[in-house]
């Protein structure tokens, strides 16, 4: 019985890791291949950039285009992955706006990923449903 539970837990964490890798790898691929429109289409509006809220969808498109134009490439190898919890908002900033953004806009079940870039680390705030649909809620970095 206990062996079955251990096996089940192990398969859960393996599944979670696979799901994380798949979600983050998709975003990394779109960015690295220059698909700003694809990224904009799955980006939340408003969108969280570092500790600042980008309120207009046109500005979120400008952000993805800017990242591509600047040559920012994401390494799909995850250096950190965690579920969004009560204090995760502090990863992005210390203002009420960021805290409210997490409470109001970030989907339940969203996860935070840290990925290496040539210019430092980047953080993605991503929700991936069981059916594979995605929503990017935030981006931080490179820093």
């Amino acid at each position: 019985m206990s062996a079955a539970i251990v096996a089940l837990l192990a398969s859960c964490s393996t599944f979670q890791r696979m799901s994380d890798e798949k979600g983050a790898a998709w975003v990394a691929r779109q960015l690295n291949e220059g698909n700003a429109a694809e990224l904009a289409a799955v980006s939340s509006s408003p969108f969280l950039l570092d500790g600042e809220i980008i309120a207009l969808p046109g500005d979120t498109v400008a952000l993805w285009n800017g990242l591509i134009k600047a040559g920012v490439k994401l390494d799909p190898e995850l250096s950190r992955a965690l579920a969004v919890g009560t204090d995760t908002w502090r990863e992005f900033g210390s203002t009420r706006d960021v805290q409210v953004y997490f409470g109001k806009y970030v989907a339940k079940g969203a996860r935070l990923f840290e990925l290496p870039t040539v210019k430092g680390r980047a953080v993605l705030l991503l929700y991936r449903s069981a059916w594979g649909s995605r929503k990017v809620f935030g981006f931080k970095g490179p820093y």
Partner: protein, 338 residues
């Protein structure tokens, strides 16, 4: 229980009992409305929007609204909000242009023409047609087609007549007025110039935000302090009237309420409306202008995140955020907690 009456007064004001509305008569291209409740919907002909509702157009978006005696044309890439404040003891409509371009035409005078508010200034109009350009750095240009407009910021007023314009840099009083050279420049070109100026001197843009924020914080604080004093007086008079019920006749209690309670209600509501108005104006500036300034600088420095100019900007912007967090954010609360 003691606070119930005052709370109702507040909630009525917050609910927009005195709301000023505008109806959509034409729309083209991408346009959404963010309602006061936070709900977002696509703008469509026939919809009516009220105080606190905001219209946001995308590239090539256009929305035309009518109010009593007034036509409002909201251009592309614009953030436009219906607001209100108290002027001369009465609620007055305010057309707030945070980003983009809005053209306003008064078809007939009603005596209660709304004010026009940009990030850094306000304009009163007297029978006119005018265009407002609001730039990515918080700057504003007012262009008068006909009639008279008085533009005011930081205690300095400029009167404009037909074919005259004035620019206001955020955080500064209005500049000198000039004659409009029509057809030479449009909003998109003008805003591109504002973006170039911002990228050339980002610290000046943040300082402009801070100057304006300090103004909003102070005025909001003054109104809030007055509001709290009025509310305390109102609570006390209500309590007094309640205590009279045990020893006085209903007529005497009603007379006391008419004389001591009722006269305090509207001034208390108005103080709340004005405090809230300045807090929301600061919030819009922080969200749309501050957010865009941050984005533009971030994009400029993505390839070199260790650049000294970027680090200086981030440090100065953090000071702006701290000032916002202490002067504005704590008071953007539900009416009962105000």
């Amino acid at each position: 229980m003691k606070r119930t009456f005052a709370a109702v007064v507040l909630l009525l004001a917050a609910a927009g009992l005195f709301a000023i509305t505008a109806k959509v008569v034409d729309t083209d291209g991408p346009a959404t409305a963010q309602m006061k409740s936070g709900r977002t919907e696509a703008v469509s002909i026939g919809k009516t929007y009220a105080t606190g509702d905001s219209i946001r157009t995308g590239k090539n978006g256009l929305v035309e609204l009518t109010q009593e005696g007034l036509t409002i044309r909201v251009g592309a890439s614009t953030v436009f909000t219906l607001m209100e404040k108290e002027v001369g003891g009465k609620p007055k409509g305010v057309l707030a242009v945070t980003l983009g371009v809005v053209k306003v035409k008064y078809d007939r005078l009603t005596g209660s023409e709304p004010l026009i508010q940009s990030v850094g200034s306000a304009a009163g109009v007297r029978g006119t047609e005018l265009t407002v350009w609001a730039g990515s750095d918080g700057a504003t240009r007012f262009i008068v087609d006909s009639g008279l407009v008085t533009v005011e910021a930081f205690g300095k007023a400029v009167d404009l007549g037909p074919d005259e314009a004035v620019e206001i840099m955020n955080g500064s009083p209005p500049g000198d007025k000039f004659t409009v050279q029509r057809g030479l420049i449009d909003h998109a070109k003008w805003d591109q110039g504002r973006i170039e100026a911002l990228l050339a001197d980002p610290l000046a843009a943040v300082d402009g935000l801070r100057e304006r924020l300090a103004y909003y914080s102070k005025v909001a604080r003054d109104f809030r302090d007055d509001y709290k004093a009025h509310q305390a007086r109102l609570d006390s008079e209500i309590q007094q009237a309640r205590q009279m019920r045990s020893g006085k006749s209903p007529e005497e209690v009603k007379a006391y309420e008419r004389e001591h309670v009722v006269p305090l209600i509207t001034p208390t509501q108005n103080l709340y409306i004005n405090a809230r108005y300045h807090l929301l104006a600061a919030a819009a500036m922080r969200r749309f202008v501050g957010g865009r300034i941050y984005l533009l600088l971030k994009i400029k420095h993505l390839a070199a995140p260790d650049d000294a100019e970027w680090k200086r900007f981030v440090d100065r912007y953090a000071v702006f955020l701290e000032e916002y967090e202490s002067g504005i954010a704590p008071f953007l609360v539900e009416p009962q907690d105000f």
